[in-house]
Every structure is written in structure tokens, then in C-alpha cells.
Amino acid sequence: MIPAAFDYYRPNNMDEVIALLQEHGDDARVMAGGHSLIPMMKLRMAEVPHLIDLQSIEGLNAIEVKDGQITLGAMVTQHDLIDHDGIAAAAPILREAALQIADPQVRYMGTIGGNVANGDPGNDMPGVMQCLDAQINLVGPDGPRTVAARDYYEAAYMTDRADDEVLVSVSLSAPTGGYAYEKQKRKIGDYATAAAAVQITNSEGKVASASIAMTNLSDVPVWSEEAGAALVGTSCDTDALGAAVAAMLGDIDPSEDNRGPVAFKRHVAGVILKRAVTRAWDRA
């Protein structure tokens, strides 16, 4: 599997990256860890005549946890995230989700920026970021701008990011309460058949707030406001779980693939969502 030829660039500042993106337009792409892009290039499903490697850009691999605010640089790898005690304390769902992505070798290379920017409905971090109401920070020829993760995804591989913009970081407020990232997959290294990200808070035995997003059940991640709302004020009993699942099933739109037919995916979505909510509530 030999990818099409390309010119390789390894700039060390962002201005140069943006200038290259502007100069080459559609023919240029940035590469982070390459663990989504290289497989696509090998299959010749992606052709990138001008490949811009981000590995030498300074300041993209910092993890910051301060005053309840978390910022993850685009080049922070899944391995870095798992290894970071501050993240484990401030937003344990990130660690729980990262541990369910791919395998150790892939996690040393795969980055948060690549996972969030890629736009593959199978990527796990977009759903997590929607659950956490994270903000995606971009920079382009006109300077920086920020988009909510919940508004970022348009369709498979189509996002709000313009071709000449680069994702520099993802920022979020440290969540409170219980959490879970529950993922059904056929084997280690597989993308989700269904996965659910849940954050839930408990006030005197009742759900005070709940945020729920699911992965790989539509061409974009699905944050379901109604599914969360169905839990608020309840004690997460069977009826409440049923209502949350019903709301979520109204929002997802899975398609048949080698992970199963639509009816099976809808069934698995319900099972996984119940497990995720139950685990998050136990921890709340």
C-alpha cells in the first residue's frame, strides 16, 4: 500500500502552516499523529500533494489544568492524556475515554486535535467533547476563533473548520459529578458499535443535571438535550432510564455497516446508554 507522492513540510510556526494552507488550498493538509490520515492515504482515499506535519510547532502539546479550566493542546496524544494526573483528577471521563481508543501504539501517536478535527463519526473524542460542552479553538488567516463542540460537526468529515484553519486546542470547564464513557466494540482497536459519554450531578438523591452524547450512531456525534432532560429531577430509576433511551433513539440515525444492521445498532445504543448512565449515577 503505497500512498500517492507528496511534498513534505515540517514548519516550526503556525504562520508558516497557514501560509502553506493558503498557498495550496485543497491540495494541502495538516498531519498530527497521522493515524487516521496515513491509513486513508495508503488506501488512496485521501490524496495530499502537500503534507504539513505539525510535530515541530511549539506550544501545541501542553495540557493545562487551572482554576477549574482545562486546555488541551491539539498535539496532546491520547497517551499523554492517560498519563496526566491532573486530568485524571479534573476530568476523569477524558482518561476513561482515551483508554478505550485503539491500542497502546496508536495512543502514543493519535492526538486530541486529530481526533476532534478528523470528523470521522467513529472517533470517540467528539462525543466526549460535546458531552463536556467543550470549545474548539481554531486559528486561520483572520486570527483565532472559537466554536462550541456541539456546533462543530456538520456531516461525516465535514466540520465548521475552514480549509485554511488549524485546530490549536480544545478547552473546557472541569466537569462535576459522576461520569462514564461506555463503549461497545468488537475487539480492541475497533471503532464503536455504539458508545455513550455521560456526565451527571446528584442533588440529594435526584439528578440535578445530565449531559449525554453518543458516538458512531449518526454521521456526526449526537448530543441529545432531551435524553439529558429526561433524567433531571428523577432518581435514575428504570422509568427515567427508559425515557432517556427513548429520547436518544429519537435523535440517532445509525446506518448499516459491518458492525451490524440498523435495528441491532439501535438496540446496542439503548443497552450502552443505560450502562453509561447507571455507572455515572453510581459515581455522582
Partner: protein, 164 residues
């Protein structure tokens, strides 16, 4: 075709320089340009781990890295781990516990395991299985691979204690 690039790598402690197209995969540069044939090509699709090398302190699948991306890196392959007449503890342990049958996966297994034990010198069986999940073996059923790694870990730890 694009121009060839001047690539510099440090492989198993030795400086290497050669010309390569940027799109060449690291595994082929190692095997075909440098004649370092320990890392194998199993799946070529980032799934099997037979091509695993240690690159700047990370276990990576060298079939999923362009040689241009690796330019400037320090790499360790199975050739840099132990010597035929002075095996690394992991190699000795794989031999002792039948951690291999055909041996195709073994260079990747042992290279990955060196890094795993460096990061977690005292793993549980579950941690070994999770930490080795990027490496596939078609022969052994994994049981003896896990046994080999656990046994190597206790041996390394015992040697460390004895040295103190």
C-alpha cells in the same frame, strides 16, 4: 514523483543517513534501505504490531509512519535489544516459557514489552494483556506470551532489589 529527501535517523545507537521519498513508510526504510529486518510487515494496516519499534520513547507501528515524519528520530528495533549470546531478559524469558511458536510476531512483541515494563515495571496479568493489545499473535494463544512478560518483570525486579 517528488524529490527525495535527505533522511537522518539514529537506529540502535548508530547514525544512518540516506535518501528517500517522503511517502516511504518507515518499516520499508528500515527493512529495505537499512537492512534492519527484525521489525516485520504483518498487516500493513496498523493492526498487528509486528512492525513495532521504539521511536523517541514511544512504541509505534512503523507501517503507519512516513519516513519523513521519523526524520531526526532515535529508533530502537529488536536488533538493538540484547545480543545472540547475551539475550535480553525478555528474550530469555520468551525462550524459557515458549512465548513464541513461528516467531513472526516476536520482534514486535518483545520491542513493545520492553517499553511496557519500562513504564510499568510491576504489571498485573491484566495490565500486560491491556498493554500488549496492539500486538497480534496467530500461534500461541497469548498465554505463554503473558507468562514470559510477567516472569521477565519479576526477574528484572529481583535483580534490581539484589543490586540495592
Amino acid at each position: 514523483m517528488t524529490d527525495k529527501m535527505h533522511i537522518k535517523l539514529k537506529v540502535n545507537g548508530e547514525d544512518k543517513e540516506f535518501l528517500a521519498e517522503p511517502r516511504e513508510l518507515l518499516i520499508y526504510a528500515l527493512r529495505e534501505k537499512l537492512n534492519i529486518t527484525g521489525p516485520h510487515v504483518g498487516c500493513e494496516t496498523s493492526h498487528c504490531g509486528a512492525c513495532t519499534v521504539t521511536l523517541d520513547g514511544k512504541s509505534v507501528k512503523s507501517c503507519t509512519m512516513f519516513v519523513a515524519q521519523a526524520n531526526g528520530a532515535e529508533i530502537t528495533t529488536i536488533e538493538g535489544i540484547g545480543e545472540p549470546d547475551a539475550l535480553h531478559v525478555l528474550q530469555e524469558s520468551f525462550r524459557e516459557h515458549h512465548g513464541l511458536q513461528c516467531g513472526f510476531c516476536t520482534p514486535g512483541m518483545i520491542t513493545r514489552a520492553t517499553k511496557l515494563l519500562e513504564e510499568n515495571p510491576n504489571p498485573t496479568e491484566e495490565e500486560v494483556r491491556f498493554g500488549m493489545a496492539g500486538n497480534i499473535c496467530r500461534c500461541t494463544g497469548y498465554q505463554n506470551i503473558v507468562k514470559s512478560i510477567l516472569s521477565a518483570a519479576s526477574e528484572i525486579n529481583a535483580a534490581k532489589e539484589a543490586a540495592q
